[in-house]
C-alpha cells in the first residue's frame, strides 16, 4: 500500500514520525493521543510533511483540498496553495456563515454533524480530503459523502497519521487513503 511504499523509500518519514508526541490518557484515560503540535515546531519535519503530500498530488488535477476542522486546517491550506487548488473548510455546526449543507456521522457514543458551504465546490471537481489523523474513518466518511452529494469526485483522503487498529481504511471502502505514519 502507499504508506508502506513511502516508509520503505523515503528518508523524511523517520523525522516526521519522531516529531509527533504521544500523550497518554488524553482526552480520556486509555487513549494514547497523537499530538502533531510538536511536528509543527520542527520546521524541517513540517516542511517535509507538506512536501510529501504536494509531491503526490500536484499532477493529479486536483482543484479542491477539503480540510477537516480543526487540525485539517493546518495541513490543508499549505497543500492547496502549493498545488493551485481551492481550500474548503469542513466544519462543526453553526461555524460557517451563510448557506451550508450538512452530513450527520456516528461517534463512539452518539452523533455529530459536519457542514460545508453551498457553492464552495462545483460538480465535476476533483478533491483531496485532508486531516491530521484517521482513526475509525467516521469524519473522513462524512466529508466524502458531503462532497459526493454535490457531484465532486473525491480522488483520495490524506492524513499524516493512521491508527490501523481502528480500521478506518476499511470504513472508507473503495476510497483510497494515503498516510505518512501508521
Amino acid at each position: 500500500m502507499a504508506s508502506a511504499d513511502v516508509k520503505a523509500q523515503d528518508p523524511r518519514i523517520a523525522g516526521i514520525s519522531s516529531a509527533i508526541r504521544v500523550i497518554p490518557d488524553f482526552p480520556k484515560p486509555g487513549i494514547m493521543f497523537q499530538d502533531i503540535t510538536t511536528l509543527l515546531l520542527d520546521t524541517k519535519a513540517f516542511r517535509d510533511t507538506i512536501d510529501l503530500f504536494v509531491e503526490r498530488y500536484k499532477d493529479k488535477n486536483i482543484s479542491v483540498v477539503a480540510g477537516i476542522e480543526a487540525r485539517g486546517f493546518i495541513f490543508g491550506p499549505p497543500i492547496a496553495l502549493a498545488i493551485g487548488a481551492k481550500f474548503v473548510p469542513m466544519r462543526k455546526p453553526k461555524k460557517l456563515p451563510g448557506e451550508v449543507i450538512s452530513e450527520e456521522y456516528s461517534l463512539e457514543y452518539g452523533k455529530d454533524v459536519m457542514e460545508m458551504h453551498v457553492g464552495a465546490v462545483q460538480a465535476g471537481e476533483r478533491a483531496l480530503i485532508v486531516d491530521d489523523l484517521v482513526a475509525t474513518g467516521g469524519t473522513l466518511s462524512a466529508a466524502i459523502r458531503l462532497l459526493e452529494r454535490v457531484g465532486v469526485h473525491v480522488v483520495e483522503c490524506a492524513c499524516v497519521i493512521e491508527l490501523p487498529e481502528l480500521k478506518g481504511r476499511e470504513r472508507l471502502g473503495e476510497k483510497p487513503l494515503f498516510v505518512l505514519v501508521s
Binding site: 503540535t37 520546521t43 513540517f46 480543526a70 486546517f73 491550506p77 499549505p78 481551492k86 481550500f87 451563510g98
Partner: protein, 193 residues
C-alpha cells in the same frame, strides 16, 4: 497600520483580496456584517497573494515563531493562514486554542468577550525565551483575543514583533498596548455575493 499606508499603496493584490471576502449580514447575531474569509480561500490567487504579502513583510525580521489566534466564538480561522506563513519564513507554528483542546501542559490567559470571558491556551515549552514571534489572525475587531495572545507569548519570554490580520478595524489598535498591528484590508460594509 494598513498595508496600503505602509508600502503597498495601489498594490492591485489588496483589491483582489478585499473583493474575495464575502460579507454575510446578521451572522452570528443580528446587526453584525460578518467578514467571511472562506471565499478568499476559494480564490487561489487571492489566497496566495495574502500569504505572499505577509511572507514578504516578515521573512527578514528574524521571526522564529508564528502563533495563530483563536477568534471569538468561531475559532480556528487563524490556523488557515499561520502555517503557510510559518513554512515560507522558516518559523515554527504554534496554535493558540480554546481550553481543553491542547494535550499536555499548557498556560492559559483570559480575555473579555462582549458578554463574559473566555480563555486562550498555549503549550508550555512550545517557545523559548528570547524568540521573536508574530501573531496571526484573520480579523481583528476589539483586539481582545490578540492582546491575550500577546500576553501568553510574553509570559513565555517571547518578544512579539507584530500582530498581523487580513481584515481589521483601526479602532482595534487601542487594545494592543503598543504592539504594532499590520492589517491588509478594511471590512466590507455591504453584501457583495
Amino acid at each position: 497600520m494598513f498595508a496600503a499606508e505602509n508600502g503597498l499603496r495601489g498594490d492591485p493584490r489588496l483589491q483582489g483580496i478585499s473583493k474575495a471576502i464575502r460579507v454575510v449580514p446578521d451572522f452570528p447575531i443580528p446587526g453584525i456584517m460578518f467578514q467571511d474569509i472562506t471565499t478568499l480561500l476559494l480564490d487561489h490567487k487571492a489566497f496566495k497573494d495574502t500569504v505572499d504579502i505577509f511572507v514578504d513583510r516578515y521573512r527578514d525580521m528574524g521571526i522564529s515563531v508564528v502563533a495563530a489566534n483563536v477568534n471569538v466564538g468561531i475559532e480556528a480561522r487563524g490556523f488557515v493562514f499561520g502555517p503557510s506563513i510559518a513554512l515560507a519564513i522558516g518559523a515554527k507554528f504554534v496554535p493558540l486554542r480554546k481550553p481543553n483542546k491542547l494535550p499536555g501542559e499548557v498556560i492559559s490567559e483570559a480575555y473579555v468577550l462582549e458578554y463574559g470571558t473566555d480563555r486562550l491556551e498555549m503549550h508550555v515549552g512550545a517557545i523559548e525565551p528570547g524568540e521573536r514571534a508574530l501573531v496571526i489572525d484573520d480579523l481583528v475587531a476589539t483586539g481582545g483575543t490578540l492582546s491575550a495572545a500577546v500576553r501568553l507569548l510574553e509570559r513565555m519570554g517571547a518578544e512579539v514583533v507584530e500582530c498581523a490580520c487580513v481584515v481589521g478595524l483601526p479602532e482595534g489598535q487601542r487594545r494592543l498596548d503598543g504592539k504594532p498591528l499590520y492589517i491588509l484590508v478594511e471590512p466590507r460594509l455591504s453584501v457583495n455575493y
